[in-house]
Symmetry: C2
Subunit: 299 residues, 2 copies
Amino acid sequence: VVEPSTVTAVVNTGDDVVLHGLHVSPDLDTVTYTLAGAVNPETGWGLAGESWGVMDALSRFNAPAGSAAAMTWFRLGDRDLATHLYRTQRLQEGAPLSKVTSEITAAWNVAVRVLPMTDDPVETRVTVAGEGEIGFQDYFVARRHSVPVEEVRFAGSVTARPAPGVLDGIATAAVAVVCPSNPIVSIAPIRAVPGLEVALVARRNDTVAVSPIVAGEALKGPAARLMEELGYEASAVGVARLYAPIAATLVVDEADRDLAPAVEREGVRCVVAPTIMSDPEAAAALARTVLESAGPAEP
Amino acid sequence: VVEPSTVTAVVNTGDDVVLHGLHVSPDLDTVTYTLAGAVNPETGWGLAGESWGVMDALSRFNAPAGSAAAMTWFRLGDRDLATHLYRTQRLQEGAPLSKVTSEITAAWNVAVRVLPMTDDPVETRVTVAGEGEIGFQDYFVARRHSVPVEEVRFAGSVTARPAPGVLDGIATAAVAVVCPSNPIVSIAPIRAVPGLEVALVARRNDTVAVSPIVAGEALKGPAARLMEELGYEASAVGVARLYAPIAATLVVDEADRDLAPAVEREGVRCVVAPTIMSDPEAAAALARTVLESAGPAEP
C-alpha cells in the first residue's frame, strides 16, 4: 500500500524483560519478524520453522523454589535466541536499543524503520487482585492473562526519553496510525513516555486509530478484559474514549456499525470498515481505509 | 578406581567469560560433561550430538566493527547454551557459582563433587607480544593460542577467596592430584587464589602431579609453548620445577623415562608410567598409579 521505507513503526518496549541474562524485546521482535515475513503464523510471535534445542535442554534443570533459572514457560526458540544474544551483547557494549534494533531489522532485510518508543528502561507492571504487583510477562505469559487486574503502571516512564527519531517521525508523518493493539498494555506505555502524548495530540487530525475491540471482544489477548477491569467499556466506544485525545478518527469493524453514533459522541469521527486482517489482501484494504480516513473530525 | 562421591574436583574459573550476557565457565562445563559421559569425544569440550541452531542463526547478523555481538568463533551449542542460561539466571539471582555448579552437576547426575576454585571473579589475562593484554578466550579460541605470550596474570586473584569446600577438600583428601592440565593457565590460576597454595604445600607429601608434557610436547593445547615462553623448560623437568612446591611426586610418561634423574634433582620423586589416557582402561590404570604413588619424596 505504501513504500515500506517511508513507514516508521514506534513500538512498545514496556514488555521487555531480562530472562537468563538476555534482553528480550517481545514487541520489537514480533514486529520485526512479521515485517520480515518470518513470524510463526500460528502463534503470531516467534519464528516460523523454529527449533527448540535450548529450551528442551533447559528442562533438565531443577531450579530451587523461587528461582527462574529453569523457567521454560517463556519459550525462547533457538533462532529467536540468536536475536536475544545479539541484542544483549550490543546493549552491554553500550549501544542504545534503537541502534541495536536498526541492526536487527537490517539483518532481517526489513525496510520499515522500526523504533523502540524509548532507549531507556520502562517496565510494564501489573497489579493482580489478591497477589500484588508482578512483571508483565509474569502476567501475560506465566498467568496467561487470566487473572483479575487492578492497576497497570509503566515503571521508569517518568524519566524515559523518546528514542531518536520517534518525535520527528510523529511530527513529520503524513498520517499517524494507532494500530489495533492493546490500548492498555501496548499503546498506553508508548503514550506514557514523556513527550509522546503531546506529539500525538499535536497530530490528532492526522491520526487514525483502529479499534482492537470487535463486537465487544479482542481478537486475541486480554484487551477487552483489561479495559473492563480498569473502568472502560470493552467496546469500540470504550476505545474511542481512550483514544479521543490523540486520534480524530477511529476505524471500527463492520460488526460494530451500530456503535458509530456512540463513537462519534466521544468526539471522534467513526469509519466503519472490515478490520479483521485475515490475509494480506484484507490487511492491505484496511491500510488503504486508514490512510484515506485521516483528517479532522467534524464538529 | 574410587567411588565418585568421594572425589572432589577443584576447577579453574579463570577462563570464565561473559558472552552475549551469558556466564560461560568452560572448564567447569568440560569437567561436568566429561564426568557425565556427555562430552563431545572429538573435541574434548562441548556436548556429544550437539545442535547449532542458535549459532547458525547468529551468523545472520553483521555487528559493527569492534563489537562481539555477532561473534561465532566461540561456538556455543544449543544444549550447552541451556547450561549457560541456567547458570546466568542463578548468578543474577544471587546464588554463588559453587552452588550453581552443584545444581548443574546434579542435573547431569554427576556424583563427583565439582567445585570452582573460587566464587569470586578471577580473569586470566594474557599479554601477547606486539598486541598487549587480551582476555583468555581471545587468546585461546580466537587466536588459537598460536601467538607469542609474554605474560599471564590472574586479575582479581588477590582478593578472591577459595570457594566453600575447597580448603577442606584439600586438607582432608587422602591424596591430592594435580591432573595433567596446563600448568600455566589451568593450574596456576587455582594456585593463585589466596590460601590455595598454602593448603597444597601443607599436603605436599600426599600430592601427586601428572606431567602434561610428554616427550617435550603437550598432548593438546599450548602448555609446552607457554612454558617455554615464560622461561620454563618444556619437559617433565620443567613441570617438576613448577610443581615442586606443592607435589612430592610427579608421574611422567614412559617416553620421558630418561628424564627421571633430572626430575628427582628438582626434589620430586619421579614415577614413570603410561600417562596417555587413550581409553577408560588406560585412564583407570593411571589413576591407580597416581593413588599408589602418594607419599613423601625421599631426601
